[in-house]
């Protein structure tokens, strides 16, 4: 029978080689036609529990009852793991970026208001001089910011409602569509209202500066809104070599760094905002990541699945591998089912991958691979279930026997629902549940070719995947989604840096107006002044970038691991894999370049300054 592929359906339950089963949806008539041609029937038994934890107990009971187990048991944790990992990672990245954006937007609000007040300081002084009370003056500005805040919050709320599909697209196509509940709408309304309140209170606090401004300060002395006394550091004349533009700029950064705090903080936040998701993406994209997933890193992964023909299939695979000269080495792991005791004192099924090399190529959270037959390494989720740690002894029950094993190490595993163990003890008499073979070729580049060739020789019931395909099928979705989001984040980060640079420089130029005029009058050219601002902002940006990169390395992993632990994916600790070219060259250069370019453009407004008007003021 031939079929035409109409559409691909995302299958939350069986969409990965980890589940080792693929479903094809047919029409009733096609199915009847196919059934008439013979073949075996396979039944899918689905059980729903009020409490998802009951699934493990059900699985144990089913397996122990000796009922048919030709297929793969797909538990909720597996479905959750395989389908939700993308959304969990995306939600985390978006949450992290949102938090940083909120921090930056408050900085923006502060500087926008400050710039407005600086520009209108004479008007404020005049209003004070004619006797307007502080509250009346403040309310003129506050009303403006209240209107802006309510407009912004409303537009943001509408955009959020309209764009929620964009962010929930993946989750709805895998888990099904869920319309927005009244609670969700109400909750987002409350959050929006809170946002408005917080902005208003914050604006009020900043506007309080008007209270302390005196008529003399604003109209006579011409001092700024933030009238803090600044100490003058004598010593410029002691410098022997540094060019005057560098000298003046570096002295300002050294003695008046606080003035540049805004640029510094925003650069740090922007670098963090961009680098953590980039590193996360690199990590998921890296071949090494599979070692965090309970799998070793090799060229080809062969899985011989459970079924009546498992031993025959395995023998055939071994025969093919033994006769292939392109193989440098391969390891065999046999999965058996035994029992152990969980923290509640109940017997639980434990799947152990046995083999001489078992657990050798994994990354361990604690301890290491089993080296002796009485040792066992267990997955992190099993460690929680059993309630034992490295060095403890656990009793394994199999075929009516009890045997003590010492826990040699704990690793993180996202395969088989995260509940696995590794041992070099053979459990010879036990039925094999699965065989996994990791194959290394002499020439890794022919992995695809080899996998195809072996697939043609070996029958069904065996899946042969080049590691790259395995990774792509398990993590490809996450990486692709992350790629899009990281692109967006980098754009947002870049825009943020530009926006803050413009806002800050506008404020700075207003404050430096008279200094610029003085410097011009004594013989500094616009080129000199531009150079000075570029040196100042460039130095501050470089310091911010350096701290941002340092913090990314120090905190990035901790933040990511904290979230991964919370997500229940079975991942406890992941070392972020850094691409040095991106982290140490491209992103720093982009941020620095953008800041310098923006500064250069903004400073062109200096040429419009009327020095004489400033001097005559």
């Amino acid at each position: 029978m031939t079929f035409v592929v109409e559409v691909f359906v995302l299958d939350a339950q069986m969409n990965s080689p980890m589940v080792s089963s693929t479903r094809i949806l047919l029409s009733d008539s096609d199915f009847e036609g196919l059934k008439a041609q013979g073949g075996e029937n396979e039944y899918l038994i689905e059980a729903y529990f009020a409490n998802a934890k009951e699934a493990t107990r059900f699985q144990n009971d089913y397996e122990n009852a000796g009922l048919p187990q030709d297929g793969q048991a797909v538990t909720y944790s597996m479905i959750f793991l395989l389908s939700a990992i993308t959304d969990i990672i995306m939600a985390f990245v978006l949450l992290l970026v949102s938090m940083l954006l909120v921090a930056v937007s408050f900085i923006c609000v502060k500087f926008t208001i400050m710039a407005a007040l600086e520009e209108e300081i004479t008007e404020i002084g005049t209003m004070k001089a004619i006797g307007l009370p502080f509250k009346d003056i403040r309310n003129i500005y506050l009303l403006k910011y209240k209107i802006l805040a309510i407009t912004g919050v409303t537009i943001g709320y509408i955009i959020a409602l309209l764009s929620s599909d964009l962010f929930t697209h993946h989750i709805s196509i895998t888990f099904g569509n869920m319309s927005l509940s009244v609670f969700a709408i109400l909750f987002s309304l409350i959050v929006s209202g809170l946002m408005y309140l917080v902005i208003t209170v914050y604006a009020k606090r900043i506007l309080k500066k008007i209270k302390n401004l005196t008529v003399v300060d604003s109209l006579v002395k011409g001092s700024g809104i933030s009238n803090k006394k600044e100490k003058v550091k004598d010593g410029l004349h002691k410098s022997k070599k540094l060019s005057i533009n560098w000298l003046m700029s570096l002295r300002e950064i050294r003695y008046r760094f606080k003035k540049w705090g805004i640029v510094f903080s925003v650069v740090v936040l922007a670098v963090l905002m961009m680098m953590i998701p980039i590193n996360l993406m690199n990590t998921f994209d890296s071949p090494e990541f599979v070692t965090y997933m309970g799998s070793s890193l090799e060229d080809i992964l062969i899985e011989v699945d459970n079924g009546d023909t498992i031993e025959e299939n395995y023998a055939k695979v071994i025969e093919v591998l033994d006769n292939d000269d392109d193989i440098s080495k391969y390891y065999t792991y046999r999965r058996v089912r035994v029992q152990s005791m969980n923290t509640d004192g109940e017997l639980m099924n434990l799947y152990i991958d046995t083999g001489d090399n078992s657990g050798k190529e994994l990354r361990y959270i604690a301890g290491g691979a089993p080296n002796f037959e009485n040792e066992i390494a267990i997955s992190y989720l099993n460690m929680n279930e059993i309630g034992k740690d490295v060095g403890d002894t656990i009793i394994i029950y199999f075929e009516g026997n009890e045997q003590d094993f010492v826990i040699s190490g704990v690793y993180q595993d996202v395969t088989s629902g995260g509940y696995t163990a590794k041992s070099i003890y053979h459990f010879s008499n036990l039925v094999s549940q699965k065989y996994t073979l990791s194959v290394d070729l002499l020439d890794s580049s022919i992995a695809n070719q080899k996998a195809d060739a072996w697939s043609n020789i070996i029958d069904t019931g065996v899946s042969i995947d080049p590691m790259a395909d395995f990774i792509d099928q398990t993590l490809g979705g996450v990486v692709r989604q992350l790629n899009i989001v990281v692109g967006l984040i980098v754009m947002v980060g870049a825009l943020l840096v530009v926006l803050i640079t413009v806002l800050y420089l506008k404020l700075r130029l207003v404050k430096d107006y008279s200094n610029i005029a003085i410097m011009k009058a004594i013989g500094f050219s616009y080129q000199d002044l531009t150079k000075q601002y570029l040196i100042k902002i460039g130095t501050v940006a470089l310091m911010g970038i350096t701290l941002g990169v340092l913090l990314t390395n120090l905190l990035g992993e901790r933040i990511v691991n904290a979230v991964l632990r919370m997500s229940g994916l079975g991942l406890q600790s992941v070392g972020l894999i850094v691409n040095p070219l991106i982290q140490f060259v491209l992103i720093p250069l982009m941020v620095l370049g953008l800041i310098l370019l923006t500064t250069w453009i903004v400073l062109k407004t200096m040429k419009k300054y009327n020095i004489i008007a400033i001097i005559n003021e």
Binding site: D234, L236, S239, L247, N515, G523, Y526, I615
Partner: protein, 250 residues
């Protein structure tokens, strides 16, 4: 004496309003000229136009035989740094620098001399103007007179050929004003050409010549000759000038 400044057919308009109307005059090396006139007569505009702070609408200004009215920003800055000194009504020192740092700044920028030489020159100027004791002070912690002296030191640090002043004693009390004027006269006697804008008879009486502006035109000129630090003669110069100005209704 060589010509330091030559102004030819200078016009300056703001929109349809003509502020300077065909100004022509010449300043010789070592001259001390005061520009006087009513408010709005164009005296400050003339000072800014001839000093390159502002571009004239038409006409030419030559400083040491170099046409300056259409110089690019960098060339004008270089010229301002090397040949001109400015003293304004307010000292306009940079707030984030000490007195001495303010003074050496143009010297370091021009870099015609070594930093040590600039520092030595600054020390000499500080001593000459009597403010050595406040050299390392914050500019907010010294008096108006000391600030104005510091501004003069800054204007002289690169040994300019010409010193421009816009009401340099306008913000000072009479005794401080006298001290500042004494310094300016001393500088002039040492060879620096000085052009001041003032409405104060006591200041103008210190100059060799007065240019009187009326509605953007040079209406009259008066020569007083070189100033000598003699009380009687100073009084006589002030009286003569006062009567001259009175006749013009100032």
């Amino acid at each position: 004496m060589r010509t330091i400044l030559n102004v030819e057919n200078l016009f300056k308009s703001f929109g349809k309003t003509t502020v300077l109307n065909n100004i022509n005059f010449e300043v010789k090396e070592g001259d001390f000229i005061s520009i006087m006139g009513h408010s709005g007569s164009g005296k400050s505009t003339l000072l800014y136009s001839i000093s390159g702070m502002d571009k004239p609408t038409s006409g030419k200004v030559f400083l040491c035989n170099q046409e300056i009215s259409n110089l690019a920003d960098a060339e004008m800055s270089e010229l301002r740094l090397s040949k001109m000194g400015f003293v304004f009504q307010h000292s306009y020192l940079l707030k984030n620098l000490s007195i001495k740092d303010n003074i050496v700044l143009p010297g370091f920028k021009l870099a015609r001399k070594s930093r040590d030489q600039v520092n030595d020159h600054a020390d000499a100027l500080l001593e000459k103007t009597g403010i050595t004791h406040v050299a390392d002070h914050d500019i907010k912690k010294v008096s108006g007179g000391q600030l104005q002296r510091a501004a003069i030191c800054r204007a002289l640090i690169n040994q300019p050929v010409i010193l421009f002043g816009d009401e340099p004693t306008g913000a000072l009390n009479s005794s401080t004003s006298k001290e500042v004027l004494d310094i300016i006269n001393r500088i002039n006697n040492e060879g620096t050409t000085v052009i001041l804008v003032t409405h104060d008879v006591k200041v103008a009486a210190r100059s060799d010549e007065i240019i009187y502006l009326m509605d953007g035109n040079i209406e009259d000129r008066m020569t007083l000759g070189k100033y000598e630090n003699d009380n009687m003669r100073t009084k006589a110069r002030e009286k003569k000038l006062y009567e001259w100005l009175e006749a013009k209704g100032l």
